[in-house]
Each structure stands twice: as C-alpha cells, then as structure tokens.
Amino acid sequence: MDARTRRRYAVNSLMLGLTGVCTFLTVSILFLILGYLVYNGGKALDWDFFTKLPLPPGEPGGGMANAIVGSIKVIFLASLIGIPIGFLGGVYLSEFGGTAFPHVIRYTADLLNGVPSIVIGIFAWIVVVVPMGHFSAWAGGFALSLMLIPITLRSTEQFMRSVPQSLREGALSLGASKWRTVVTVVIPASLSGVLTGMILGVARIAGETAPLLFTCLNNQFWSSGFNEPTASLPVMIYNHAIAPYEDYHRQAWAAGLVLLSMVLVSNIAARLVLSRGTARR
C-alpha cells in the first residue's frame, strides 16, 4: 500500500469517525437535558406544587396549581378554535380542493407556521387584548390557536391524502355522495394519523411561552373564567427562572419537569401509535 492510499484510508476512518462523534454529541444532549431536568425537578417536585398557589418571593414553599389549571384552560381554548378549523381546512385541501386555491392555502399555512411565535403574540395583543382592554385567557388561546391551525391543517391533509384512491372510488361507485365518502370512508381510514397530528400540534403549543407573555400575562392567584389574566406553566417557568430567588428557581425546575414530561409523553405516545399504524399499512 503506498503512502497516498494509506492517507486516503486514514482520512476515511477519521472522517467517518467524526460523523459518529457528531451523532453522539447531538443525541447525548437530549439525555443531558432530560437527566439534569429530572435530577433538579425531581428534587424540587412535591405535592404542594400541584395543590398550592405561588407564594410571594422570599417565602419558601407554595406551588403552581393555578398555572397548571391556567395552561389547561388556554390549551383548551386554543384547541377549541384551532383543531376544527385546521381539520376542516385539511379536509378541503385533501378532498375538495380545486386547482389554484389549495396552493394558495398551503403556501399561506406554511407561512403562518413559520411566523415567529412572538409576532403571533403581538398580533393577538392587537386584535384581542386591545379591543377587550385587558389581558385574558381568550387572548392567549387565540394566539396559540393561530399556531395550531397550520400544524393541524397540514398533518390532516397529509394523512388523508395517503388514503388509497381505490377506497374513495369504492364508496363513490356504491352511490355515496362526496361528503358521505369523506365522512364514512376517508376520515375513518386516516383517523389514527390525523389524531396523531393533532396531539403533536397540541404538544407543540403547550410549551409555547412567547405568544402568552402579553396575551395571558401571568397571575399569582386563581383566575376565574376566561376573562382574566391567566397563569400558565411556560410563563411561570420564565418568570421564576429569571427571578433572583433561590426558592423560585426550585419551583421553576419542578415546573420544567412537569411541562417537559407532558410534552415528551404525548410526543412519544403519538409517534408510537403512528409508527404502528404505518407498519400495518
């Protein structure tokens, strides 16, 4: 073997080894994040976290019960607006679309999906907070729904499109009308995928902080109904993490662990369901 070949082989092993190192580094970050968060959050998490209100700075103890309920409220509102619109829009794109308009919608949805979340927050502030005159769960729900709509739309379209054309033709040939075909054949056939897409979308907006900063604001107390400033877990984490109090940091870790567990569990569950669904097909 001459020197040149030896060098080529050396470069080969070196570079291929380096790509392995890259993979190791990037994947290990996930485990570092998980590990450190579980370690710190686990230390900080107690029953009070789920049942008590936050205490004023300096007083140890307290919890984030209002933020957990607040997050659920805001996500509920966002899903209430975002899921039906996104789903129906997806049905349109996949089943009823003509030629030009679907392209416009698809492009717009991708555009909206790429809008930085903080800009969505400004928009929700302009169209909801300003007319209402105060911060509210509605405003936060509206902001998050704007992020949920394009995600739901695109995933619904994608999964409904993957339903074989022959199924539709079968139903139509039996005399079913278009909408009956969609409702009784296409939607059931794509249901697991569509639901997975929705779960992933909701999990994504559940962790969003920026759109809530000046729509829901925050609240140290319970908020009744949907018309008051509302605490949410992500905003609480932000406020507690940047505050200079030891005990606030402890609470932030606990909240971080709770939020991440919720997001990751729904993600893993959704993806497992999805991979089983596609394997069968």
Binding site: F96, L153, Q158, T209
Partner: protein, 320 residues
C-alpha cells in the same frame, strides 16, 4: 360502423349536490381554509398599520439607527438586527458541521435500526419547549461559560476582537450556543432525509471506481443532496432568527453593538418579549410592533427560500 352508445351519467345539478350535502361540505371546509388566508392577511395588515407611527417618525432610519432610548423616544433597530443575525450565524457555525456530520452518519453509516432510533430521539429534541432550553441554559450553560468557557477562549484566542472584554456568561456566545442546540433537530432530520433520498447508483458508482467510503459519501452523495441540506440550513436559520424565549433568558438584553461575543446584547424577538408588556407611549409600542414586522419579513424570506430548496430536492416539500 355504428358505435354503441355508452350511457353517461349526467353530472348532478347544483341543487342536487346542495341537497345531497356536497355543496354544504365544500362550503364549510372552504371557509375553514379561507380563514387561514384571512388571518394571515390580517396579521400583515395589522402589523403594518399599527407600526405607522414609528414608520412615519423614523422612516428607513429605523433600520440603521443604533439608538434605542425609550426615555428620549428615539428608536433604532440596528442593535437588535445585529444581535439577531450574529446569534443566528453563530448558531449555524456550530450546528451545521455537527448536524450535517450526524446526518451523514445516520444515513450512510449507521444500521437502519440505530439510525431510526437516533432520529426519533433527535425529533424529540425538537419538541422540547424553548423555555426549557432557557431554564437549563441559565443554570448550566451560563455558569460554565463564565467560569471555564469564556476564560479559556480569552486565554487562547484572546488576540481576536471576538474574545475580549469582561466575561459575564450571558451574552451573544451563550445565545449562539443555545440556538445551535435548538437548530440541530431541523438540520439533522431534514439533511438525513435528503441524503437517504440519494439513489444508490450514486454511491455504488463511486465505490466501484475505487473511492473509499468517505470519498464516495463526500464527493458523490453529499453534493447530490446539497440542495436539501442547504434547505435544512435555511430552516434552521429561520428558527434561530425567530427564537424568543431561550435567547431572552441568556442574552442579557442590552441594546449594544459589540464585536466581542462575551458582550451582552439583544435580539429583535428578545427585545419584544422583554419590553412589550411594559412599553408606555404610542411611539414606543409602534416601534416594537415595527420590530415585529421586520422580524416577520426576515423569517418569511428565509423560510420561503428553505421551502423552495427542500421542494427542489425531495419533492415532498413542506410536510416537515
């Protein structure tokens, strides 16, 4: 020869379809998708009209002025634009080599099963909320940078202007690092897909000519997938430009322009997050909204480029 008449079903009339429900279903689903268009148009229009005060007062100077002074009601976006671009570029400098390297490993080297598991984990990284990245960065990355990372860089590369000045931990470097971690998943998963879409002929031809595995990968496979990889880089860039929470938590939020990466700074998104709720005065608010508009335009241009590039290679386009 007489042709047999083929009975053709008459298309149903509009009324028939209306009673049958098709037109109603069409109308409902059409309305839902049209509302997306409406909302997006409204978003642009609202950002435009609500920032009119700032546009009238500062004009294009807004983009090049470096004063951001709420007390004197003077607003210029240059420090934020600088910070946004600097942190994003810094992030890509770190995440592109690592991410593309990992994508090459996952598509060319790793057994299929390992590759799938690893990319599953990487996709989970994308699902971690940005506030969590910020939380971790505040309590791990920043102390580490302050006590080890920045002094080390200062001692070894201190002759460069980038690594001088006081070391606080918070600043451009911290923001760039956390953004790098947040852009990995995009770069890895899309580059991996682009690489996997490269036809096997490409690899086999290079190997048959006596290329080593690495030479085949680098000279025959990667160039074939370059548009997809570039698309992933743009997508990562768009994410890095618009990222708010993690950056706000680690950058220090001072509107300064400094060559030193150790210096605290700010980005467009971070300044909006920080100041919007407390902004008093119409011009101040309008300036922040104008910042939002600038950010919006910046990201849609980058996003558009990314989608075009990905579309050009994978033909799957926007389903990421």
């Amino acid at each position: 020869m007489a042709t047999a008449a083929i009975p053709i079903a008459k298309p149903r009339s509009f009324l028939g379809r209306l009673i049958g429900g098709d037109e109603i279903a069409f109308a409902i689903t059409w309305t839902a998708s049209a509302s997306i268009l409406l909302v997006t148009v409204m978003l642009v229009w609202q950002l435009w009209s609500r920032s009119s005060l700032a546009r009238a007062k500062f004009g294009l100077d807004f983009l090049v002025s470096r004063t951001w002074d709420p007390v004197a009601v003077q607003f210029g976006a240059l420090p934020f634009i600088y910070g946004t671009l600097l942190t994003a570029v810094l992030a890509l400098l770190i995440s592109v080599p690592l991410g593309v390297g990992a994508a090459i490993f996952l598509s060319e080297m790793a057994p299929r099963r390992l590759s799938d598991i690893a990319s599953f984990l990487v996709e989970l990284l994308a699902a971690v909320p940005s506030v969590i990245y910020g939380l971790l960065a505040i309590f791990t990355l920043i102390p580490l940078l302050r006590t080890y990372g920045e002094p080390f860089l200062h001692n070894t590369l201190g002759f460069l202007p980038f690594f001088q000045g006081p070391m606080y931990g918070v600043g451009y470097l911290a923001a760039g690092l956390i953004l790098a971690i947040m852009t990995f998943p995009f770069i890895i998963s899309i580059s991996r897909e682009a690489l996997m879409d490269v036809p096997n002929d490409q690899r086999e031809a290079a190997l048959a000519l006596g290329a080593t595995k690495w030479e085949a990968t680098w000279q025959a496979v990667v160039p074939f997938a370059r548009l997809g990889i570039l698309g992933s880089v743009f997508l990562g860039l768009a994410r890095a430009l618009g990222e708010t929470m993690a950056v706000t938590m680690v950058i220090g939020n001072t509107p300064t322009i400094s060559a030193s990466l150790f210096s605290p700074g700010s980005t467009i998104a971070a300044s909006i997050a920080n100041e919007f709720a407390e902004a008093s005065g119409d011009v101040y608010l309008a300036s922040l909204i104008l910042l939002g508009l600038v950010l919006f335009l910046l990201t849609i241009v980058i996003n558009g480029l990314a989608r075009l590039l990905i579309l050009a290679t994978t033909k799957k386009g926007t389903s990421v």
